[in-house]
């Protein structure tokens, strides 16, 4: 299944991913909460056990693929290292596996390409290599953090296809982090919308787009040029996103919200029924029929 985590810059979606992957920078730490992978709570495990669990079951792909690959090591070496660390294979086996993985992600002539270096690859090829590196050791969960943002649209579509294909054939779950609602609509099964460090709405993708409950979600959808009639003014959300060190008290969206009341400025709304809002929008009159999807 694919869960999309969507939100604007600075809303904390990348930090959430890093926390799940255990890659938070030194200064940051997980302040509380639980994180369960296959029923085991990562936060409750010892650091060593958590690292082992993470190494076995999850991996991530980030936006800047060229920067994510070490410039002085060959592509094959880097993929093989991931294979060795996750599976404990011998050098030779790992090398063969790396070539196979590079072929699997659609690199032509993987045998030769494995010997090349990141600077000899195009951006799209590097992103393919990063994906090969991420699926080494068959993870249960793949986190794709803005993985296609830096790519051109035609390339982006192909990389997304690749991820969907791998998800089906390897039976992975995918957490898909993006700011692009178009990508969410096209790729996700479930969606979590984040604003200023909190998830404000959670829903099935069809429901979310058909009938958003949180005013922020609605504002976001309404400001998309694609969802307006031509030549009309775009509807906007007034104001700007608060910075993380100057969050308003109460509901963080209240200062920009057309439905805000005094209560919103004081109380933080709890997440219930899939949204965190004191004055949710009424759902569409006819409830959306939930279609059974074939995606696993």
């Amino acid at each position: 299944m694919t869960l999309a985590l969507v939100g604007e810059s600075g809303c904390g979606k990348s930090m959430t991913c890093l926390a799940i992957a255990g890659l938070l920078p030194k200064r940051g730490r997980v302040a509380g909460g639980a994180l369960r992978i296959e029923g085991r709570d990562l936060c409750a495990l010892s650091e060593k056990d958590a690292r082992t669990l993470r190494r076995r079951s999850l991996s991530s792909v980030f936006q800047d693929a060229t920067g994510g690959l070490n410039p002085v090591r060959s592509i094959g070496w880097q993929v093989a290292e991931a294979v060795r660390l996750r599976k404990g294979a011998t050098r030779r086996e790992a090398q063969a596996e790396a070539v196979r993985l590079l072929g699997r992600v659609g690199l032509p002539d993987p045998e030769r390409r494995a010997r090349e270096y990141p600077h000899q690859f195009s951006g799209g090829m590097n992103q393919r290599a990063m994906i090969a590196l991420a699926i080494a050791g068959n993870p249960k969960l793949l986190i794709a953090d803005e993985a296609t943002t830096a790519l051109d649209v035609t390339l982006q579509a192909q990389i997304l296809d690749l991820i969907a294909d791998l998800r089906e054939s390897l039976g992975m779950g995918v957490i898909f982090v993006t700011h692009d609602l178009g990508l969410v609509a096209q790729n996700a099964d479930r969606v979590a919308v984040m604003y200023a460090g909190r998830v404000v709405e959670r829903a099935d993708v069809a429901d979310l787009f058909a009938a958003p409950r949180h005013p922020y979600t609605r504002g976001l959808l309404a400001s998309l040029p694609e969802r307006q009639r031509k030549n009309e003014r775009l509807s906007t959300i007034p104001g700007t996103v608060p910075t993380i060190d100057a969050l308003p008290p109460g509901c963080t969206f209240a200062p920009r919200c057309p439905r805000a009341s005094e209560r919103c400025a004081a109380d933080v709304p709890e997440m219930a029924l899939g949204y965190a809002c004191h004055h949710p929008l009424t759902p569409a009159p006819a409830p959306v029929v939930r279609r059974e999807r074939e995606y696993s």
Partner: protein, 309 residues
Amino acid sequence: MTWISLKLLRALVTMWLVLTFVFFVLRLSGDPTMVLLPDDVDQATRDFYRAKWGLDLPLWEQYTSYLRALLQGDFGVSFRNNLDAFQVVWERVPKTALLGLASIAVALLIGMPLGVLAAVYRNSWLDRIVMSIAVFGFSMPNFFLGILLILIFSLKLRVLPSSGSGTWQHLIMPAATLGTGFAAQIARYTRSSMIEVLSKAYMRTARSKGASLGQRVVRHALPNASVPVVTVLGIKIGEMLGWAVVTETVFAWPGIGRLLTSAVATRDLAVVQCIMIILAFTMVMANMLVDLIYGWLDPRVRVGRRAQA
């Protein structure tokens, strides 16, 4: 390979420029016979020596004949004892090479690990201590450090010889003196380049693969971080040669530096010029070596060169 031949050409041009520069500056600076011969020598004797050393010819002819001799491997004779200048200098080379290599070893073996540690444990007490020592290290004039070492270890504690060469004990203080400043500089450069590398996205990739801290530092960070350090090392070679002269003087180490100070004092032109050529050659070779290491460390450079060739 075009790349190598271009480098060689540049090196040759540099060496030619250096020796030309030195030749003219030294010839224009006065008459060596005034210093070498007693004041009361008559004009005829003076002229005899001038003619013997070719000092009576026009400057241009002196220069061309000097170049011609050089190409045949003739560096001239020492004015002082009529020995072949190259022989005189060459005898001293091993001593200076020993001192220089020992100091580079000191600098790298102390500076690199300390810089790496300081970067990995950035802003910790360890980092602060290492960096404070480094500031002391490169602010310390090495002639003063040498004198302090002599005072403490030779005059007070009487455990190390204060001058000369021969045993390994003789090498300790000069190598420490010459190496300290460079160790400090290398520690700083290593730290800053490590800090930069550690913040790169590929370090996060390595972490997400499940590589341990040690694996990440040794396999991923160091090869990248050492590229700028090697470059700096190449740039600093010239400075190091200068400091070597001072260090050799302080410890009466019988290397090229000592020879140079005595040769300039007696205006022994041929010897001074020969030393300059050998030092310039050393620098040029060191820089080529650095280039080679550079290519070995960084595939981007390597591929660029192959494309050029």
